[in-house]
């Protein structure tokens, strides 16, 4: 075996070892790397009442209640991961992207009554990017309501939006 071959095997071996060590470490600490907990996880393993956690999920359509005490807006909404829901209370201004159906991450702690008191709410947008007109057309076509879920595949936007922009707006049936 030449010196170069020996070095190649040595370097390869070191890399395999390092990669395995990293993978094991990451999988061991996986629960700590997670940025937020979903409502079902919070219910399955309820954190201590004074511990600050991050709760993530989708804002349930129709659950948002907004009022005002003095100048600060008081918001209440439900966050769901599809299996479970947690009610979040937050005093303060919500980010621009906040809406029903949007994914959010709330920082705060679980109260004794099961509600979540947030000190900060972050909006989490998805990986879909579409122009305003397309979103409008999709909504008009009746095939997608942003309050109830993710938008359809980008490849299908044209055909779906086309069926909604025709003269007869109440004709979502003739879409393929």
């Amino acid at each position: 075996m030449t010196r170069k071959s020996r070095r190649l095997w040595l370097v390869g071996g070191c890399l395999v070892g390092l990669g395995t060590a990293t993978a094991l470490t990451l999988s061991a600490f996986s629960s700590n790397i997670v940025f937020f907990m979903a409502p079902s996880q919070v219910h399955a393993h309820p954190p201590a009442a004074d511990r600050t956690i991050r709760l993530g999920g989708m804002v349930v359509a129709g659950s948002v209640r907004q009022s005002k005490t003095g100048d600060t807006p008081v918001n209440q909404f439900d966050v769901t991961d599809g299996q479970d829901a947690v009610t979040v209370r937050y005093e303060g201004i919500l980010p621009d992207l906040f809406r029903e159906g949007q994914s959010v991450v709330a920082v705060g702690s679980l109260q004794a009554d099961g509600a979540f008191r947030a000190s900060e709410v972050l909006a989490k947008h998805d990986e879909t990017y579409m122009p305003k007109e397309v979103a409008e057309a999709l909504r008009r076509s009746g095939k997608w309501d942003p309050r109830y879920g993710k938008p359809p595949d980008a490849a299908s936007w044209n055909s779906m939006a086309a069926s909604g922009t025709g003269p007869d707006k109440a004709a979502p049936q003739h879409g393929s």
Binding site: M1, T2, R3, K4, S5, R7, L8, V11, C14, L15, L18, G19, T22, L26, S30, I33, V34, F35, F36, A38, G56, P95, D96, L97, R99, Q102, V105, E120, V121, L122, A123, K124, H125, D126, E127, T128, Y129, M130, P131, K132, E133, V134, A135, E136, P146, D153, A154, A155, W157
Partner: protein, 281 residues
């Protein structure tokens, strides 16, 4: 190059064969000729495509239905993120060539990739922060994607420092190559962080396995920007590497001259340390 290796077996090993192939391209003179010919083909398309992509993204592409115009930050953020990772991939390859085959050009390339890669990583982090504040509502969060890219930035900085830390350059090359190769474990972590763990950062819109989740009116300027920035990265690297090869030739020539002013053909390191200090600036 510098070492004598006796190949005992009749069929050369994988390492030896790869080495032969590599050393055809290790010749600095050959690289200078190739680089000079390549340079205009990188520089000019890079400028044209980058300017076109920026104008397209900034003024001609549509605003996003929920993010409004801030989505335009994507056209600089995504190419910077792509280059930060691919630049480090290049650094890791150079490190492997340096450690196993003692490839002299790979060492010079590793020296030059460091600062350029760190710059694009800084751009990626800064533009991401400028995008996160209006959209997420925060400049920074410690989620897996953001943290692993920050680690990449520190890997670049560590490499830049380490490769220049020794009086004897060869020792710096070896040490930095080990760091460069070991740091490559961060690359898959960056890539898959948004799938393995839930993060505030959204998953990738463009993947090899699925159709892009993006309107084509936004996809095209993004692709043009990415191609332009990538060519620009390559153009800057080739220019810096050509300069580095020329600088090392100047140093060698000066060293020869000082060792014996009347004979330019003598070995360069007869009297290596006498008054090289001033010449190696």
């Amino acid at each position: 190059m510098g070492e004598n290796e006796t190949v005992l077996n009749a069929t050369p090993s994988l390492a030896a064969r790869t080495g032969n192939f590599l050393h055809r391209y290790a010749n600095p003179g050959r690289f200078l000729r190739l680089g000079a010919r390549l340079q205009p083909w990188l520089t000019w398309p890079a400028i044209v495509l980058s300017v076109a992509g920026i104008v397209w993204g900034l003024f001609l592409s549509p605003a996003d239905w929920q993010q409004g115009d801030s989505v335009r930050i994507m056209y600089v953020h995504v190419p910077a993120a792509w280059l930060a990772s691919s630049g480090y991939m290049g650094l890791a390859v150079c490190s492997l060539l340096s450690l196993v085959w003692r490839h002299p050009l790979a060492d010079l390339a590793a020296v030059e990739i460091g600062p350029v890669g760190a710059s694009v990583t800084a751009i990626c982090l800064a533009t991401g922060s400028l995008w996160g504040k209006p959209m997420w509502g925060t400049w920074w969060v410690w989620d897996a994607r953001l943290t692993s890219v920050l680690v990449l930035f520190f890997l670049y900085l560590g490499h830049i420092a380490l490769i220049r830390a020794f009086d004897e350059p060869q020792r710096g090359y070896r040490a930095a190559a080990i760091l460069g190769l070991a740091g490559a474990v961060d690359l898959p972590i960056i890539k898959f962080s948004v799938q393995w763990w839930n993060t505030l950062h959204q998953p990738d819109s463009i993947t090899l396995t699925a159709a892009p989740t993006m309107s084509t009116a936004m996809l095209w300027p993004l692709l043009v920007c990415t191609l332009g920035f990538t060519l620009g990265f390559a153009a800057i690297l080739v220019a810096r590497l050509r300069a580095a090869v020329m600088e090392s030739r100047v140093r060698t020539a000066l060293a020869m001259r000082r060792a014996d002013p009347h004979d330019a053909t003598r070995e360069p390191d007869r009297e290596p340390d006498r008054d090289l200090g001033g010449a190696v600036a």
